[in-house]
């Protein structure tokens, strides 16, 4: 493809993306394809001769789009949102056009420098302490692919630090704390690194947030048993129910255990820190004063296209001490002089894409004000939705609404007694009915044995009318469940 053919195919791509967004609301949220649909439609091997791009572009429309789940659809309420803004797409276009592996400053100075400035911008947007800014030369921010990668990176840093400061302690004695509500990133980090993990109990009365007392008991037990707890993941806004660990208590307990690395996983809810009114509930003061690392994914609810998981550390040396391997062929004058950041030593891999560009585009185009407005819209819509749920005879909240997430289940209808059915049975039936539909998507969870439906708001195009339509649909399906029993 030459430059003019690219111009033509590029214009066509832009036009087709516009068409896609004009038609998005009229499409189903969920794809109707069956497993194997695409393999059956494609040849088994690449063509021997090159094909005309117009044919390839048409195949994208005909074969790929019908196989997509539309996370940007205004009636997508599953999982958590995945951002997709036009600014984000443009950032990806420009970044892809100057493809480079970005592993050190010299690879492309603009990539490293913009990443350092953008993580500083984002830190200030969220109210993080200056200690987390790259300008300190001590702390700093880095873009990772996902919260899993962020956790894995800091667990490696914490493990290396702990082993260095506690020589002779075997890896099999190290212990990582999560809770039963921590995202599976915690269990996966332990699995990947071959480390022990202990999942601490939390309960409904505490809103599924970890208490300091539970941590203290675990520390007492585990240290007595000869183990070395070196890392704890505290979550601000869990995936199942949006629960918030009691970070003030956790930090207070941890003061007696200076080698315990506190990582805050705020993958989803961290962006609410942009709004001053949510800083207290998110324990910002404690994040700023005590935690070693903090992560939030701008690609979830933060308007930046996947991937943009932002990780900040209070001491960058803990990352680079654990991750720096610099062979001759990667040495540079600037790196040797220590005057620049070499981001390859801040993450697990080597090569990295130019992801800061889309953050720059989004933060400038929306402005801090526009960013906050969007976050508040999601929370406001969820207030409306959760009020409808809690005042409905059909449903009840399982946990208090959290930011833009509502977790609920069906009530027993007054006509039925507890011997013939259960709330779990009804809620599962409702979820089955919803899952059979293609015009809405929600997800399930189980909280202390209670089967629940999660309703997460945050797609950029979701307005009150979509939430209202979704609630009406939920009521219709719930009534049918009740009629069927």
């Amino acid at each position: 493809m030459d430059i003019e053919q690219f111009r033509k195919a590029g214009y066509q791509a832009i036009d087709r993306i516009c068409d896609f967004y004009y038609s998005l609301e009229s499409r189903n949220v969920v794809s109707s394809v069956e497993p194997g649909y695409l393999r059956r439609a494609l040849p088994t091997a690449p063509p021997e001769q090159g094909e005309d791009f117009s044919k390839i572009a048409d195949d994208y429309q005909q074969l790929i789009i019908p196989g997509l789940t539309h996370w940007q659809h205004p009636s997508f309420f599953a999982y958590f949102p995945t951002a997709c803004t036009f600014e984000g797409i443009l950032g990806d276009v420009y970044a892809s056009s100057v493809s480079n592996p970005g592993f050190n400053w010299g690879c492309s100075p603009a990539c490293t420098e913009l990443e350092a400035v953008m993580t500083d911008w984002a830190a200030q947007l969220l109210g993080l302490d200056n200690a987390f800014l790259n300008t300190t030369g001590v702390g700093g921010g880095v873009i990772q692919t996902s919260a899993s990668d962020s956790v894995l990176t800091v667990v490696v840093a914490a493990r290396s630090l702990y082993c260095k400061t506690h020589p002779g302690v075997g890896l099999d004695k190290l212990l990582l704390y999560t809770t039963s509500q921590t995202h599976s990133v915690g269990a996966k980090a332990a699995l990947v690194l071959g480390l022990k993990e202990r999942s601490l109990d939390v309960n409904l009365d505490d809103g599924f947030g970890l208490r300091g007392e539970a941590l203290q008991m675990a520390l007492d037990e585990d240290i007595k048993a000869g183990l070395h707890p070196f890392f704890i993941i505290a979550t601000i806004g869990t995936t199942s129910s949006g629960a918030i660990d009691h970070l003030s208590e956790i930090c207070s307990v941890a003061q007696s255990y200076p080698s315990l690395w506190i990582h805050v996983d705020a993958a989803w809810a961290g962006v609410t820190l942009a709004c001053p009114e949510y800083r207290e509930i998110c324990h910002l003061d404690y994040i700023n004063r005590y935690v070693h690392s903090f992560c939030t994914n701008f690609h979830k609810w933060g308007l930046v296209n996947f991937d943009a998981s932002l990780l900040w550390v209070r001491n960058r040396k803990h990352l680079t001490d654990a991750l720096d391997v610099t062979p001759q062929f990667l040495r540079t004058a600037q790196g040797d002089a220590g005057t620049v950041i070499d981001y390859r030593n801040w993450h697990l891999g080597l090569g990295r894409r130019f992801r800061s560009l889309k953050i720059w585009f989004v933060l400038r185009s929306y402005g801090a004000e526009g960013f906050r407005k969007y976050i508040r819209k999601g929370i406001d819509l969820n207030k409306v939705f959760s009020t409808w749920v809690s005042s409905s005879p059909l449903f009840e909240l399982v946990t208090p609404p959290s930011f833009a997430l509502t977790v609920f289940r069906m009530k027993l209808p007054p006509s039925k007694d507890h011997h013939t059915t259960s709330q779990d049975f009804l809620t599962r039936k409702l979820f089955e009915r919803l899952s059979a539909r293609k015009d809405i998507q929600v997800t399930q969870t189980v909280l202390h044995g209670i089967f629940c439906i999660r309703f997460a708001i945050g797609a950029e195009r979701t307005e009150e009318k979509h939430v209202m339509a979704a609630f009406s649909l939920l009521c219709d399906e719930a009534r049918k469940v009740n009629e069927d029993i």
Copy 2:
């Protein structure tokens, strides 16, 4: 930004990318900016009010482009190439426009299915055995970010498998083999996982490729010392000199150690397997018969924009056994039924971008024939270049040319004796002179104490005239080095 504003900004982006490529050859390869240039040019925090996108797009031109190193420049001969094709950019554009985290089949069926079909297409393009195809339901391919991530993933799989089959063996007894020429991905994997690594010696006479005998000696020593060698990285085309480990011998030795996982890192040179004439030198038969995993980066010399590191395993269960953590909120009917691939269990993180799209676009647009033609062009250009080097009175080859890489150093000029200077001194001086220029980029390496210059061909726009101009420039600079001593 609304849909029509996006259309306008999108057209502008396409036009500006066209302008960029029309002007690329007239630009410098290497950026002239000084560390901190961008921070000084940007405000310290995001703007409070949103800005007009045209201003942002102009700032990209004025602030970012001057800070880029142009890996697509025809005079870029540093590191290894990083692919950037128009087809790849278009793949990224469409993928970004339907942003989703792709962690399981239901997330977006097209993403999972296209990845499975594309890794099968690529396997067939390279001549990999059917055992590596996803259609087997046993082996399979997956797209990772980089060769580092690929190695890390299979080391985790191998470690879990080894620990399962060798209960009671502590992690501190496990040993991973690399060579002194293995890319730093090996050392980094060991560092990240807290495992022992042993770097085996290789030497110039063997072309810096690992011999079976050296492996056998190491195994004898290490097992005798109570260690458990469980993993070896064999490289097809090392970064320093393009060396090829003697895989036939390695596999032969490994037959007596069935628990030793053999991973082939062909990050750069693996794409030459597309051309049948390079399959023997790359030990394809041994890859197909014996190795557990194989990786090549299509984003290097394979025309697909970064990132597209393709990893194949002979047994996917070794990945999923090591990496599967499925909480309630990630359960799906299709995943539970086992009828689909859930790629989240094939890599370290959870979320993943829609990277198969750009592979589809590239392989269809070029066709297998076009792909092979491009690979052969790079190798042919390197034959020409290395012949000039070896027949020049100024230079000598340090190792035989490997595919599209030449590693050379300066000769002592006949007028100088060995007491007043050294080849290393001259070559370092030459490298310094080259590094001070902005119109070409090459990189350094050290092979057994010998300071060398690497010259890697493979940028899509590099033609013979660029290689000729580069050689002429090298000769001029070398003559100046000789004049200065």
